[in-house]
Symmetry: C2
Subunit: 159 residues, 2 copies
DNA sequence: CTATTTTGGTTTCTTAACGCAACCATATTG
DNA sequence: CAATATGGTTGCGTTAAGAAACCAAAATAG
């Protein structure tokens, strides 16, 4: 049956992974953030099979992460652009990038360094913080008990 | 051939996805952050098939996201605990959680609210910021050209 | 000490997803 | 009209996921 789904899970991480948790979706979103918009460009830059790309783009559009825009005179060309929901994955992608750079350094030793277009400043490491700005690790947080109990296990036991 | 790998990609997002980019790994890490340590507990709380769980745990241990700890008298019991590398996925998980809560609200309307154990404060939304603290969107950043060109497309063309 | 349960797996089998390559239709270019 | 670019779809073989059964060692119950 492959691929369990978690649409009804009370865990938002599980629900998020439903939409961008497969091998390709997040890379497509990343590529879109780099500016790629065309089917063929995604295909060539990612080296993804066309049918898979087609499937993922459709799904991302269905999930409103991307939107399909007709361009050109007679609508024969489309572009896939990030929606606000898609652009909102920026912190996820950056967090993942920083984790990758820290723990699996590039074999070429040159991590991609994004910078603020305006000031040229580098990006600060992503951190989990309280409202007050205090940095938190996993061990610093707790979860109300009754919520913890059904965090991500309910989707399975009831289905 | 299924599942392309990106070990040699110069894109750290792609490399990160190699380790935690499948359907289960990040959920396992999440569950570990909730305090789960035992094989059977992971299995029951996630509803994952045992062979898949076994495979993922092994892989996460291989990738040093988890470490396997012998507990009990005669070493018949193991625990899987997060390493520092694993705990360092906290920002990724939180970013994903916040995205899920924002764009795919819980069907039960009760997003899990993590709080600082010490102060009781809620977690601030994750944001990409410059060193100076300025919040950045996708559109605010740029990437040096020569780096962008080979961001995530090289792993395929050469392999 | 034996029977049962817990724990941490492995094996088998079916089904779904992936990847490749070929094919296709429309629109542009020459 | 031929060639090419674009955005797909179709077929087919391979691989990975999922369910359930099986297994062995250790803990627990009686």
């Amino acid at each position: 049956m492959a691929r369990k789904r978690f649409d009804d899970s009370n865990c938002s991480v599980a629900r998020a992974l439903n939409e961008v948790g497969d091998w390709w979706s997040l890379l497509i979103v990343l590529q879109a953030m780099y500016g790629t918009r065309r089917f063929v460009d995604f295909q060539q830059e990612l080296g993804i099979a066309r049918n898979i790309l087609c499937d993922r783009l459709t799904r991302l559009v269905d999930n409103q992460v991307l939107r399909k825009v007709e361009v050109g005179e007679h609508g024969s060309r489309q572009e896939y652009r990030l929606t606000e929901k898609g652009r909102d994955l920026f912190p996820v992608v950056i967090a993942l990038r920083q984790w990758g750079d820290k723990w699996n350094p590039s074999p070429e030793g040159v991590p991609l360094n994004l910078r603020d277009r305006e000031t040229g400043q580098a990006i600060r490491p992503m951190a989990v913080q309280t409202e007050g700005g205090k940095k938190l690790t996993v061990r610093d947080v707790y979860m109300p008990e009754e919520e913890a109990a059904e965090s991500s296990g309910d989707g399975q036991k009831t289905g």
